[in-house]
């Protein structure tokens, strides 16, 4: 009943502002026209340079994953001008800061790697060194609109039946540009949530290890199979929507610890013979209309029972949402992210898991704020960026009630301070050091004060 007067008031106030707005609009139009003319001129110059430098390639291909959501404002990029984000042929290449290596006119390969040393401060005997991951990727351009893109990863140095390492295809999709500013992808793609998942190369994040929120709550590196569309607008908005596979709740193991380490990480399927009755959908967007500022968010949802008739999971639905912000004024790099997930209809399932250490959570969440400062620079390539990050997260914030008081109490919320520095030998080779302070220790879940060293690279 009170909405009408309110709407009227808004209308009148807008009308009163109209003349001024009109004048501003005309001025803005003139500025846009001038900018368009400049862009057209620059395009011409670029084309001339490309023609002089390389054999004629297929025309600029579709955007890279990095460019697709526009989040790729990597620490490396902030340090110094990264090597060209295009190949010598002028094409965009995979990776967010590396230049890749061209293999002929239409194919390039690239890679990144990460080596870590973790030393718990209270238990030196548990210190561990690991070749955490080595990745080789490729990008092949079929024609001016179509390419295939893949990423193959080895984790923990050796992958065999008697070792703990893994070999995995982290991304593999065909991308087709339907127009200059939007296109479609089909295959195994990264879920475009958060700041890290699509930009998980070590030179793109602060700290030796990926932050907890974007591994425990958003299970980076999270990928699903399906179809997605992406695009961008003239006003700096990048979007990505998709439909495809989702987690499989039937794979939940209440006796294992994985579900408390990362609820979704324990049941995502990574397109390995994925149960796929119930499609999931997602939508994400990022706005970069102001230089140095990125504001975005996304949501992923779907039923995750996948038709498992042996468990009461048919009605369970996952909803995971997140919002993030990144601001890079001058030498500073400030970011914040909040994410929360829910899984519905878990009561009957958890009744079958009564007393088990890891029932399915009803909700889980996390958030962090991080500040970094490019304090020292040497030449145009090297720099030192100390940072401080504060995280809060809970992988079992609530559980569905159970009879007789036999339900599970929420897990305590973990708080982690991380203080460290990234030293960029150049934008694509980074040495890292940090110290992490946890509010409470849980060795099973990997929580414990520690000192970390790391090396990362990408090309």
């Amino acid at each position: 009943m009170q909405r009408k007067p309110l709407a009227l008031a808004v209308l009148l106030s807008c009308a009163g502002l109209a003349p001024a707005a009109h004048a501003d609009e005309a001025k803005l139009k003139a500025e846009v026209e001038a900018l368009r003319a400049e862009v057209a001129e620059l395009r011409g110059v670029v084309r001339e340079m490309q023609a002089q430098r390389a054999p004629a390639p297929a025309s600029p291909v579709v955007a890279t994953p990095a460019a697709s959501t526009g989040v790729a404002v990597a620490p490396a990029a902030a340090v110094a001008a990264a090597p060209a984000a295009t190949t010598a042929a002028g094409q965009p290449v995979p990776g967010t800061g590396g230049s890749g290596v061209a293999l002929g006119a239409n194919t390039s390969f690239w890679g990144y790697g990460q080596l870590d040393y973790n030393r718990p401060t209270a238990r030196a005997a548990d210190a561990q060194a690991d070749l955490t991951r080595a990745v080789i990727g490729f990008n092949h351009v079929f024609d001016e609109a179509t390419r295939v893109y893949g990423e193959i990863e080895w984790e923990h140095a050796i992958a065999s039946s008697s070792d703990q390492g893994e070999t995995e295809i982290e991304q593999l999709y065909v991308e087709h540009a339907l127009a200059q500013n939007y296109g479609v992808r089909v295959g195994l793609t990264l879920v475009p949530l958060g700041l890290l998942n699509e930009h998980h190369e070590p030179s793109n994040f602060y700290g030796v290890e990926r932050n907890f929120v974007e591994t425990a709550i958003i299970p980076s590196t999270w990928r699903e199979g399906g179809v997605s569309m992406y695009g961008n607008t003239d006003w700096g908005f990048n979007w990505n929507v998709g439909i495809g596979t989702g987690p499989n709740l039937g794979a939940w193991d209440p006796a294992a610890d994985e579900g408390r380490i990362s609820p979704l990480g324990s049941i995502h399927q990574e397109l390995q013979l994925a149960k796929a009755r119930d499609p999931s959908v997602y939508a994400a967007g990022n706005w970069q209309g102001i230089p140095g500022l990125l504001v975005g968010g996304g949501v992923f949802t779907g039923k995750i029972g996948q038709g498992d008739a042996t468990l009461p999971v048919d009605k369970s639905r996952l909803v995971l949402g997140e919002a993030h912000l990144r601001w890079q004024p001058g030498p500073f790099d400030i970011s914040a992210l909040y994410t929360r997930g829910t899984i519905s209809n878990t009561q009957d399932l958890n009744l079958q898991f009564l007393g088990q250490p890891t029932p399915v959570p009803k909700s889980f969440w996390g958030g962090y704020v991080q500040g970094a400062w490019r304090a020292l620079e040497w030449g145009s390539d090297s720099s030192l960026a100390p940072f401080l990050r504060y995280e809060m997260f809970n992988t079992g914030a609530s559980y569905a009630a159970q009879p007789l008081g036999l339900g599970t109490a929420p897990l305590p919320t973990q708080h982690v301070w991380t203080l460290g520095a990234n030293y960029y030998l150049n934008p694509n080779v980074v040495f890292k050091v940090d110290y992490q302070k946890f509010r409470y220790e849980d060795l099973v879940l990997g929580y414990g004060d520690r000192f970390d060293l790391g090396l990362g690279y990408q090309f």
């Binding site: 039946s161 042996t310 898991f353 007393g355 088990q356 250490p357």
Partner: protein, 395 residues
């Protein structure tokens, strides 16, 4: 072993024109399973010790059964249930060294066919001595023509082949007959959402699963397998529980005799693995409430008492083990003193000490007993009772 592989072995001199059907083999196996004439005494069949009405386990409270020509030669271990054994896996050491799988309480047989050999031959069981004696009896059985029809007219002329054929038929019967894997307990219906567990059963289920309470699910997992198969309440591993020595087993009259499971004396290939001495296979808990005796040496005749032992073994050892002349408790008295270190003292609920509270209170033990009762096959929701005999095929 596949049907074709067995038939190739059995085929010998006379070709088997058409591979026998599974149903025909199972039917023959059913007859062999119940045939007392196949024993030296003429009074013992597989079903004598593995009584179908008692979930294919023993129907009396003796710690060991006696066999032989006069049924007076005592055995060494209690009788395990044969139910769900078709889902068992061959013996192997997991990548972390954990002993896993195998048939018999020491895992020394890898298949149902291999497992079926010992009972026919062992002096304390059917006591045939060799394959020829078994086959001689098979040739005179009422189903001998049926046997010939399946495996060849001259099959009884080849003793080893005929013995293998008989065990193969038994294995097919055990692997395919629904009564060996009925999944008909109250707990199965609970998993299917068809019945509710009582408050006491639910509490017992929680204590059973909880790592801080019973910790039972650590070895007896209660969740479905990744392929959706209902839980079997065994992880197929081995454990050394330090069960008290059972003086009622005649072999134990010899103070130098110890049944040490994986490392012997019945199993011989792991005799040098002293670290495995005293470990026995973790059995399924399905139908455990129908067991007349519990554990490999049948020391306990009450399920409740067995659970009490689990949780009070280390808090109240004097309750379970004899006292020495000086009043000290002779803990773990069924393993040689030098091997007592093999007994599991690190996991819940064994990780306690005298004076500490047991992992489960008396009421909680009652709850767990109530829960274990839901694992009995042949559940009738009308009367809320279970009887494994309900699963048997009607004649």
């Amino acid at each position: 072993m596949s049907l074709l592989a067995v038939l190739a072995l059995i085929g010998g001199g006379s070709a088997v024109a058409v591979a026998p059907s599974t149903s025909a083999l199972a039917e023959l196996g059913r007859k062999i399973f119940a045939d007392e004439s196949l024993s030296a005494s003429g009074r013992m069949s597989c079903a004598t010790c593995h009584d179908p009405k008692f979930a294919h386990a023993q129907n009396n409270a003796l710690p060991v059964q006696s066999g032989g020509a006069n049924l007076d030669v005592p055995g060494f271990r209690s009788v395990p249930s044969l139910r769900y054994l078709n889902l068992n896996i061959p013996f192997f050491f997991a990548s972390d060294g954990t002993s896993t799988g195998g048939f018999n309480r020491d895992g020394r047989a890898n298949t149902l066919i291999e497992q079926a050999q010992r009972p026919f031959l062992a002096a304390h069981e059917m006591a045939n001595g060799d394959a020829a004696a078994v086959v001689d009896k098979l040739g005179r059985a009422s189903y001998a023509d049926e046997f010939r029809g399946l495996f060849g007219a001259d099959v009884f002329a080849r003793a080893d082949d005929a013995f293998l054929a008989a065990r193969y038929a038994l294995a097919v019967y055990e692997a395919t007959a629904p009564e060996f894997r009925p999944f008909s307990s109250k707990f199965d219906r609970f998993l299917q959402g068809k019945v509710k567990l009582s408050a006491q059963e639910l509490r017992g289920f929680a204590w059973f699963n909880s790592p801080a309470k019973g910790g039972c699910a650590g070895c007896h997992p209660s969740t479905r397998a990744p392929n959706g198969e209902p839980p079997l309440f065994t992880d197929y591993t081995y454990d050394n529980l330090g069960v008290p020595r059972n003086a009622q087993i005649p072999a134990n009259a010899d103070p130098g005799y110890f049944d040490l499971g994986l490392c012997g004396p019945e199993r011989t290939d792991l005799a040098a693995r002293r670290d495995l001495c005293g470990a026995f296979k973790v059995p399924t808990l399905r139908n455990v409430a129908t067991r007349k005796v519990i554990f490999h040496n049948g020391y306990f005749a009450s399920l409740r008492e067995a659970i009490e032992f689990y949780v009070q073994r280390d808090t109240n050892p004097e309750k379970w083990y004899p006292l020495a002349a000086d009043g000290s408790v002779q803990k773990f008295n069924d393993v040689p003193a030098l091997l007592a270190r093999n007994v599991n003292t690190s996991e819940v609920p064994y990780n306690r000490h005298p004076g500490e509270a047991p992992a489960l209170s008396e009421l909680e033990i009652d709850d767990v007993v109530a829960f274990l009762g839901t694992l009995t096959d042949g559940y009738d929701p009308v009367t809320d009772t279970a009887d494994p005999a309900r699963d048997l095929a009607q004649p």
